[in-house]
Symmetry: C2
Subunit: 455 residues, 2 copies
Amino acid sequence: MIKSLVTTEGRLTEEDIVRWIRQRNEEVEVKVEQMPLAQLEGWHFDEDRSLRHNSGKFFSIEGIHVETDYGKVGVWDQPIINQPEVGILGILTKEIDGVLYFLMQSKIEPGNVNNVQISPTLQATKSNFTRVHQGKKPAYLDYFLNAKPHQILLDQLQSEQGARFLRKRNRNIIIKVDEDVELLPDFRWMTLGQIKVMLSYDNMVNMDTRTVISGINFSKYLTPLVDVNVMSDWGRSLIKSMQEQMGCFTMDELISWLSRQKAMYNLLVTSKPMKEIRDWNIGEYEISREDQEYFKVIGVKVTISNREVSSWCQPLVQPQQQGLCAFIIKDIDGVPHFLVQAKLECGNLDVMELAPTVQCLTGKYDVETNCPPFVLYVLNAPKNEIIYDTLQSEEGGRFYREQNRNMLIRVGDDFPLETPENYRWMTLNQMFSFLKFNNFLNIQARSLLSVLSFK
Amino acid sequence: MIKSLVTTEGRLTEEDIVRWIRQRNEEVEVKVEQMPLAQLEGWHFDEDRSLRHNSGKFFSIEGIHVETDYGKVGVWDQPIINQPEVGILGILTKEIDGVLYFLMQSKIEPGNVNNVQISPTLQATKSNFTRVHQGKKPAYLDYFLNAKPHQILLDQLQSEQGARFLRKRNRNIIIKVDEDVELLPDFRWMTLGQIKVMLSYDNMVNMDTRTVISGINFSKYLTPLVDVNVMSDWGRSLIKSMQEQMGCFTMDELISWLSRQKAMYNLLVTSKPMKEIRDWNIGEYEISREDQEYFKVIGVKVTISNREVSSWCQPLVQPQQQGLCAFIIKDIDGVPHFLVQAKLECGNLDVMELAPTVQCLTGKYDVETNCPPFVLYVLNAPKNEIIYDTLQSEEGGRFYREQNRNMLIRVGDDFPLETPENYRWMTLNQMFSFLKFNNFLNIQARSLLSVLSFK
């Protein structure tokens, strides 16, 4: 695993991979036409004006009413994606010439800004593989369904966007096989190091890949035989942070802090008929807020040349603003600490999840008023503190051209240790302790962990 | 903490404590009269026939519709207790003569079979201490609200009964203070060892005490200075199990197993107007199933001489059958392993929680058909294998005279290692690893952990 992490030239070069994705992009034709919501084939508005698939499966767009004493807005209505099934996001790996390779797919999703992105081997909902939509069986599915315990490198349930999904989760799974694996046309073997290189490009690696690889705790694989000198200084600092169980706070103190935060705030989410949700309009082509903020729901007809089904209709969620996700990282006693926020979002399974230092919509914050903590610092960070800054996409199967700016800011000694009560400094070891027990780190935090580069 | 655990004679003797509870029982008059539901003062049926407190706070009895592919019954309706607030269950501790003492309360609850039970220092909902019902401020509340991080020995969010409560949780907290604490009339200082002795009596220690002390991970307090020879052989075995991170399975394997179990089963819970719930009748005096199974909701008027409010009305849930909760424990490679079940219950926050080997209603299983796994083994266990067997009460503030048989069965080498797929053998260390990350062990499993005796 560590070798895979530090191997940035594999069986393909960086140029090969970029060319492969570009080429796939040129080969396929992706047509996304906006349609009147009522005319989406296979979908219907029910009596409450919720938008549902005719099979009763997949997902639906439903209304919720939210009441909370957290944040500035205490009561609101909104549409939300309800997809009660747990999906599988799976990556198949195999040792080739002594290095672990990941089987990655160039996958087209209708909402992607650039059509094709590097995706996990398998990305399937239960409806998908129980074949509700009569498509082909997803490739490599059986490897995951039949995986033996000793083949499983990672297997976690993790959440999706709490502001858009109602308690949605995916099973993130990485398996390792020994036998030969047929290499299908849309797939390539890559090292983890190569995936990390691809993450330095905008919108090249999809969200599902990011959430799966974010869960890999490298410190598990560090043996005395591993030569960390091939890593960068920064990589070795991160390894230190991954080994440090005791940071500014002990794990018990952090668990206590999070329990207190969760107990302090109420979150009441009740379903509400879509036709009655306040401040939102159901138009012919879109469901949107009167003030055009946050997001809207649109209906599209998608025509793609190579996917399980080549043409279908579906709703997509389109953001009205770009977002910003950033971690502030600071060396404390020589160990990098991440500034983590306890954040409440209406779709969270458990009230609050651990989020990046900054996670917000931008555009709203051009003026220096009313800004959440640390936003202005991040937006105005000195160049030498910015160690990562790219645009990354949300899941293109549900979101239409949604990209968020992902940043890592490494601050100096002057940056104050004191933080508001809902923030805590944590080592990577502590973040991974939370991460492996499901649902603690939100998808934005995990996405930022996935981009950490060690080489 | 360890000293407290093995100290079974403290400032009071065992007889003193039993006498104290008996005496308190004689001193107070507890009158519980059944009332027509519509006449409960302070409560009303809303338009859906949900039963709600007039303040909109406390809890309500609402209808839900459940669909799942787990278990034999796939679709049902039922009333459920909805109490979205996180309550506080807190125990205040203090070192006295070098031993940690727990400040315990003799608390009256209307549903208790024996009126008074040994309870945590503080047992309060947010409504309680924000004084919705205009009662007195709960005693010792400020110690908990103002606790400093270094005073907190334990601080976890834990679930309540998933078959009766909709995603209810409590903050379980133990704090240690150095200053003198005023000893109020209904309170006594006890060692943890003494609480354990009280747990060998039927219905003496209430559920809230059990859930709080179940979270204490003794292995944390084991230093070379601690003399484990004062413990029994069994106690030393348990300590071994608490230190053993690798059991039959690694933690990663167990997390993978649980992720798979959670991903395998769907659980859809939607609210449904009480007036429409199927198979249930709302009568004048009770809400019950047509076949009189499971439980019923009754309304009572309570009059008590010393409680925050001396007279009030409330609904209570009354069981129709007695329950059985049991762990099967087996030495594997010299280390005690507990047989843990992944169990789905409709009110679970996260689909499945870790439950005892056996958790079911009895009465139904007099005949040897249709019985869940291990029930018959436990009911017919040889005497020498039964290391614990008492009746313990559910929370008397919500449940009317509900008691469940709690058993620990220590099986021999002949007992098969193989189990159904939804069961796993775990060491105590592994169970505590899950326990500290909230919501993994259900309340029945925690209750059984709390009775483990080391002396």
